[in-house]
């Protein structure tokens, strides 16, 4: 099952965000990291929330995470999702980032409805959408995280 279901909108790339999507296209989960204090942040912003520096660079992170919350979408708001419901959308909190917790909206693939719970350890995977871009998605970790 693909997370980027045909017909759903693709990400809009910008100067501020294209590094995130292109890294995913190369199989890496990269976050913005402050060039002064080292705090990671997401979604991309122009300045560091912690030290207000405008300097930043992309930084690969480990790619394990914990499910923070989730929903199972039952009502197909978008016409493209009529054939996909019910599907899940989750927010995960990434391991080993600097600064305040970094959370991503994503999909958890390969998980039964009863097995998707808050606190589930998950590991990143990548779901290509074309043009060298991929969506970071997650799967239950084989052995738990740490």
């Amino acid at each position: 099952m693909s997370a980027h279901r045909p017909g759903l909108p693709a990400p809009t790339l910008s100067v501020l965000t294209d590094g995130y999507w292109k890294a995913a296209g190369e199989g890496r989960l990269a976050l913005q990291r402050c060039g002064r204090c080292g705090a990671h942040r997401h979604p991309p912003t122009a300045a560091c929330y912690r030290c207000q520096s405008l300097d930043w660079a992309w930084d690969d992170v480990v790619g394990t995470a914990t499910v923070f919350t989730y929903t199972w979408v039952e009502h197909p708001v978008h016409p493209a999702t009529v054939d996909y419901v019910p599907f899940n959308v989750a927010v995960v909190e990434l391991d080993d980032t600097e600064g305040e917790p970094v959370r991503l909206a994503t999909a958890i693939l390969g998980v039964d409805r009863d097995a998707l719970v808050v606190g589930l350890p998950v590991t990143v995977d990548f779901d290509p959408t074309g043009d060298g871009v991929a969506l970071p998605v997650f799967r239950p970790s084989a052995t738990g995280n740490r």
Binding site: P9, T71, V73
Partner: protein, 396 residues
Amino acid sequence: MSGDWLAGKAAIVGIGHTAFGRRGEFAERGTFAMACEAVVTACADAGIDPSDVDGWSSYSDDAAAANQLAMTFGAKRFRYAAMAWGGGGSGICGAFLNAAMAVATGQADCVVVSRSICQGEGGRFGQALAGVGGGGLPAPFSFSSPYGLMSPAQMFALAARRHMHRFGTTVDHFGEIAVNTRRMASTNPAARFREPMTMADHHASRPIADPLRLFDCCMESDVAAACVLTSVDRAADLRRPPARVASATMGGPYRYGEGLLAGHQMADDDFASAGQRTVADDLWGKSGIRPGDVDAAMIYDHFTPMVLMGLEDFGFCAKGEGGAFVADGHIRLDGSLPLNTSGGNLSEVYSHGMTHVIEAVRQLRGDAVNQVPDAEVVLVGGGTGTSPTSALLLTR
């Protein structure tokens, strides 16, 4: 009490609205004509000629523009126009704050707050999040919509689930809010949904985005509404008893960003919240009024869990105890905090909060359909889950 500097300077002296239609019902009338009807109705209620309105205030990028309204009504002077930031109903109490400040500081004598929703003409809310409007996704939503996370119900379901996980909140707690709100609407002849609803009806309604069901979600409507504000001194000479602005605030928690619609970096306590902790703190702090002083509350009810979390944010109960608070009957008409007494977004009409303010005014005038005896202090909470949100305290 110390009192907000703004207190006792401005009052709502007129209220008005169009008929309450289903989404798209008034497409042929259009946003602007509906706004004009609401303005005329509110001015008639106040006993003020629309040409004497010299200030205009709105929110949510309302399409009925201030300059067009002033021209349409032949305004003798056009002195003030303000737009509160924030989507949906989040900025509504900010629009009242802007209007009251204009009156209090002498920038204008008479300010109308208006909101007109005509989705047959103006497009359906939420569609931009689905990227079907052309031009690609708005940048923040590129991190959610490609996963199929693209409707407010889905986004608020994430906060509801987190609250359930942390505090043991249940779908019965959400259902109590839906059932109570319908009970209020059942005696309101103007309400769009008046048929009785039981907890079993709530649980049997179709699933939308787990844990939310249809009856956890508000309706969609075509409606316009307006309120007239002027100075408390001038209000004494007008037709209707004034509803005084005691305090109003707008803002949002640290790193709330796009709120629950596309941002997830706020503190955990603010994630599992309505995002109104800071506007509540400022409101109580500035006004000297306490939650226990409030006789009735109009808490924004686009989705039932956000009401429960709003009650916590405003300090009517402790964080995490919103479920027990509603289960104990506090929000019922005979409870300690009668809530959304005309039926709210869930059962009366979805006006982005204008009908919440109008109901607050009715409670203070003493002519509400579900009147709270001797109501003197009423709280209105703006739309939730986005930032800036806002809050308003009105007194008799």
